[in-house]
C-alpha cells in the first residue's frame, strides 16, 4: 500500500487501473478529462493492459461502453455534466441491457447558463436511469468506490451499471492523501469478471436488447431491473464488509457523523458534507447537539438506514446541491417520502438549496440552517424551503447587471454615447 497526494480525478483513474479494466471508451469534457488522460498514459506506457478509444460523442461513448460490457469485458468510462445529458438516452438503454460497468461522473452544473463548476443537477438527471449511484466526499472514497462499484455491478444479483460521482473542482482538482491498495489485494477483492451469459460468442449466439411487444413483458423486465437495484443494497453491505476486512476502510450506504445523540441533523451528498462535518464540530463546541448524515448510495435508496439514522430527531436540514425547477430539492423530496408516516420520523424536515454551480456553503450558513431547523422543530412546523443566497452575492450580481445594462445602452445608441463622450 502506498500513500500519495492524488486529485479526485487521479484517484478515479487509479480505481480503474487497479480494477484492471479491459476497455475505456472516452470523450473529453471538463472537469473529467484528466481521468481519461491518466488512463491513456498508463495504457501507452504498458502499465495497464486495456484499450482506450476516443468516441465522437458521449452518446456513442456510452453505447460503446454498454456494447463492450455486453460482449463480456470489464469496462470503465467517465464524463461530466453536458456529456452525461448528451448520453442520457444510452444510460437508460444500457442499464436495460443489464451490462455491468462503471461510469465516473465528475459533477458539474448544467446549462443554461453554461458553467464549469460543480453541483448535482447532472447526476440527479440520471437518477431514474437504472444506473446505481455512489456519491463520494473524499479522493480516497473515489478510489475505493470505483473498486466497490465493480463488485456491486458484476454481482449476478445486480448486473446493472453504476455511476461513481465526485464533485467537479472540489474533488476532481483537489489533492488529498490517498492510500493506493496493493494490486494483489484488489485482485483478491474483485476477482476477474465472469460475464456468464452476457457476451457474444460464435458458438453461443444470443439476441440482446431485443424489442418487446406489450406492457406485460415490458413491465416484467423493468420490474426485474428495479428488484436488482434494490438487491444492490444487500450486495453493497456484503461488499463493504469485505472491503473493510481487506483494506481497513468501511464505506456504508449511509455515513453518519455524531448523529446518534444529535437533535438536529444535516443530510447531504458529496464533498460538501466535509464542510458540514466541520460545521458540526463547531456547533458541538458551542454546545449544539448537531450531527450529519451523508448518503453514499443514492440508488438504490437506503431508506431503512436513513429512517434508522434519523429516528427521533427534532429536526433535519436537507441540503440539496441541486434544484428540480418548480419543485425544489430532490433529496428533500426523496427523504420526505421515505420518512412520511414513520412513527419515529423527525419532527420537521427543512429544505435548503445551495451550492449550485460552484457556489460555496459557508460555515455561518450551516449555523443558520441548524438554528432555523431547531426553531421550526420547536414551533412544530417545517420552514418554507430556502434558496441559499447572501446579500453580498446579490450585490455582485447587481453590479454585473449594471455593467450589462450600461453596455447595452452603449450599443443600442452609439451616437448618443459618442455625443456624451464629446
Amino acid at each position: 500500500m502506498t500513500r500519495r497526494l492524488l486529485t479526485g480525478n487521479a484517484a478515479a483513474a487509479w480505481g480503474a487501473r487497479l480494477a484492471r479494466v479491459d476497455y475505456v471508451p472516452a470523450f473529453p469534457i471538463t472537469p473529467q478529462t484528466e481521468i481519461i488522460e491518466a488512463l491513456g498514459r498508463w495504457i501507452g506506457a504498458g502499465e495497464l493492459a486495456a484499450r482506450l478509444v476516443t468516441l465522437e460523442s458521449e452518446h456513442s461513448m456510452l453505447t460503446a461502453a454498454g456494447a463492450a460490457a455486453a460482449t463480456g469485458v470489464r469496462v470503465f468510462t467517465a464524463t461530466s455534466s453536458q456529456g452525461l445529458l448528451y448520453a442520457m438516452e444510452m444510460l437508460y438503454t444500457v442499464a436495460g441491457w443489464r451490462a455491468p460497468f462503471v461510469l465516473v461522473n465528475v459533477s458539474r452544473g448544467l446549462a443554461a447558463p453554461i458553467t464549469l463548476e460543480a453541483d448535482h443537477d447532472d447526476v440527479l438527471a440520471a437518477r431514474d436511469s437504472g444506473f446505481l449511484q455512489i456519491h463520494c466526499s473524499t479522493c480516497q472514497e473515489v478510489l475505493d468506490s470505483v473498486l466497490l462499484a465493480y463488485r456491486l455491478v458484476e454481482d449476478p444479483r445486480v448486473r446493472l451499471p453504476a455511476i461513481v460521482n465526485l464533485d467537479g473542482f472540489h474533488l476532481s482538482f483537489t489533492r488529498e492523501p490517498v492510500l493506493i491498495p496493493e494490486p494483489g489485494a484488489v485482485d483478491a477483492f474483485l476477482g476477474s469478471y465472469d460475464p456468464e451469459n452476457v457476451r457474444f460468442l460464435a458458438s453461443r449466439p444470443i439476441s440482446q436488447a431485443v424489442a418487446v411487444l406489450g406492457g406485460g413483458p415490458y413491465s416484467y423486465f423493468r420490474y426485474e431491473m428495479h428488484r436488482a437495484a434494490e438487491a444492490a443494497l444487500g450486495v453493497h453491505a456484503e461488499a463493504a464488509a469485505d472491503f473493510a476486512r481487506a483494506f481497513g476502510r468501511r464505506w456504508d450506504a449511509v455515513e453518519t457523523w455524531r448523529a446518534e445523540d444529535a437533535e438536529i441533523v444535516f443530510v447531504m451528498l458529496g464533498s460538501f458534507a466535509t464542510k458540514a462535518r466541520d460545521a458540526v464540530e463547531r456547533l458541538r463546541a458551542a454546545g449544539e447537539r448537531v450531527g450529519l448524515v451523508r448518503l453514499r448510495l443514492l440508488r438504490p435508496f437506503p431508506a431503512q438506514d436513513l429512517r434508522r439514522a434519523l429516528a427521533g430527531k427534532l429536526g433535519v436540514a436537507v441540503i440539496d446541491q441541486n434544484l428540480s425547477l418548480g419543485r425544489g430539492g430532490v433529496l428533500h423530496a426523496e427523504l420526505a417520502s421515505a420518512l412520511y408516516g414513520e412513527p419515529e420520523a423527525p419532527r420537521v424536515l427543512a429544505s435548503f438549496v445551495g451550492g449550485l454551480g460552484g457556489r460555496d456553503i459557508g460555515a455561518e450558513e450551516f449555523r443558520e440552517m441548524a438554528a432555523e431547523t431547531r426553531a421550526a422543530a420547536a414551533a412544530g412546523r417545517p420552514p418554507a424551503p430556502r434558496l441559499l443566497y447572501t446579500r453580498g452575492e446579490l450585490r455582485e450580481v447587481r453590479k454585473l447587471q449594471g455593467i450589462a445594462h450600461a453596455e447595452r445602452v452603449e450599443v443600442a445608441s452609439p451616437a448618443r454615447g459618442e455625443g456624451e463622450a464629446r
Binding site: L55, E56, H59, S60, T63, A68, A69, V210, A211, V212
Partner: protein
C-alpha cells in the same frame, strides 16, 4: 471482382439462413436484401441494429437470426459495433476466447439513421478505422413510423410528411459520396433485385478489413405505394433507369458494377409507384418529369 464465386444466379447460396415469420411487411425490399446478405455473411455475425423497421425482426423471445443481435438506439449503432468489435479484440488479444469464437460485426440501420441521426457515429467509426460492415437498407423515408420524408427521400416523392402537391421538395442526399469522402475500406450500393451483384459486393466487403459500408435500396410497398408482388420489378427498374446506380468505391476509385445502355426512361420506374402518381395524374407534369430525367442523365454523363 474477378475471383468471385458469384457469377450467375445458380452460384448464389441455396440454403437460406434467415428464419421466416418476421413482422416485416409483405414484399419488403429491405428484408429481401438482408436475406441475401445473410446467406453470404453466414451466422458467425452479430448484427448491431439502430431504430427502424428491422428493429422488429427480433422481438422477445423470437429472432430470425441464427447468429447474434443487439439493438442499440437510433443514433449510435456504429458506436455499438465499436464496443463489440473492441471487446472481441481485447478478448482475443488476452486469450480469453479462441479465434473461432470471433464474429463479424454488422451494423444494420435504415436510411433515417444512416442519412441523418446516425451519420456522426458512422463518420466517427470510419475515422477510427473500425473493422465492421455497415448495411443501410434505404427505403427512402422513415418507414417504420409511416414513411415521413428523410434525407434519403427522392425529389418529388409524396410521403406522409410531404403528402400534398409536389411531394418532397428536396433532393436525395448522396450518402455514398459522403461515406466515400471519409475514405473507408469500401463503399457500395446495391439492391436486392440484383442478387448476384449484391452477393459479390458482400463477398468483397467480407474479404476486406476496416470500415465497409453498403447502401441497399429497399423498395417499400407500404411507403412507396405499390403492390408487394412488384417489388423486385421496381428494384430492377431503379437500376435499369439509372436512378439507382450500382457502384462501389475502393481506394479512391468509383466503379459502376452494372451499366445499362440504353437506360430506360425514368418514368418507367416512377409510374409504377403511388408516391409519384401526382407526376402522371390527373395530368402529366412534363416539366417535373423532364427535370428528373435530366438529373439522371447528367449523373451518367459524368460517369462517361
Amino acid at each position: 471482382m474477378s475471383e468471385t464465386r458469384y457469377r450467375r444466379m445458380q452460384d448464389l447460396p441455396s440454403t437460406h439462413l434467415l428464419g421466416s415469420g418476421t413482422a416485416m411487411c409483405a414484399g419488403c425490399g429491405g428484408l429481401q436484401a438482408i436475406q441475401e446478405i445473410y446467406d453470404v455473411l453466414g451466422e458467425k455475425t452479430v448484427f448491431v441494429n439502430a431504430a427502424g423497421c428491422m428493429t422488429m425482426l427480433s422481438v422477445y423471445p423470437f429472432t430470425p437470426f441464427r447468429g447474434s443481435w443487439i439493438y442499440t438506439a437510433m443514433a449510435s449503432a456504429p458506436a455499438g459495433a465499436q464496443g463489440v468489435r473492441d471487446a472481441l479484440d481485447v478478448l482475443l488479444a488476452k486469450g480469453r476466447i479462441p479465434p473461432e469464437e470471433d464474429l463479424e460485426v454488422v451494423v444494420l440501420t435504415g436510411d433515417g439513421s444512416a442519412y441523418g441521426m446516425g451519420l456522426s457515429a458512422t463518420s466517427g467509426a470510419i475515422d477510427r478505422g473500425l473493422d465492421f460492415l455497415y448495411v443501410c437498407y434505404d427505403n427512402e423515408g422513415y418507414g417504420n413510423t409511416g414513411q415521413q420524408s428523410s434525407a434519403a427521400t427522392p425529389h418529388a416523392a409524396r410521403t406522409a410528411s410531404d403528402a400534398l402537391a409536389a411531394g418532397f421538395p428536396g433532393e436525395k442526399k448522396d450518402l455514398f459520396s459522403i461515406w466515400a469522402a471519409n475514405r473507408p475500406a469500401y463503399v457500395a450500393t446495391a439492391v436486392g433485385a440484383e442478387p448476384v451483384d449484391l452477393a459479390r459486393k458482400v463477398e468483397k466487403a467480407r474479404g476486406l478489413v476496416g470500415p465497409r459500408l453498403l447502401i441497399v435500396l429497399a423498395p417499400c410497398p407500404t411507403g412507396w405505394d405499390f403492390d408487394p408482388g412488384e417489388g423486385i420489378e421496381i428494384g430492377r427498374l431503379a437500376v435499369a433507369t439509372g436512378i439507382w446506380p450500382l457502384k462501389e468505391w475502393e481506394a479512391g476509385r468509383v466503379v459502376h458494377t452494372k451499366v445499362r445502355r440504353p437506360r430506360l426512361p425514368v418514368e418507367e420506374y416512377l409510374s409504377r409507384q403511388g408516391r409519384f402518381r401526382h407526376l402522371f395524374e390527373p395530368e402529366r407534369r412534363e416539366a417535373e418529369l423532364a427535370a428528373i430525367q435530366a438529373r439522371v442523365d447528367a449523373y451518367w454523363q459524368g460517369v462517361g
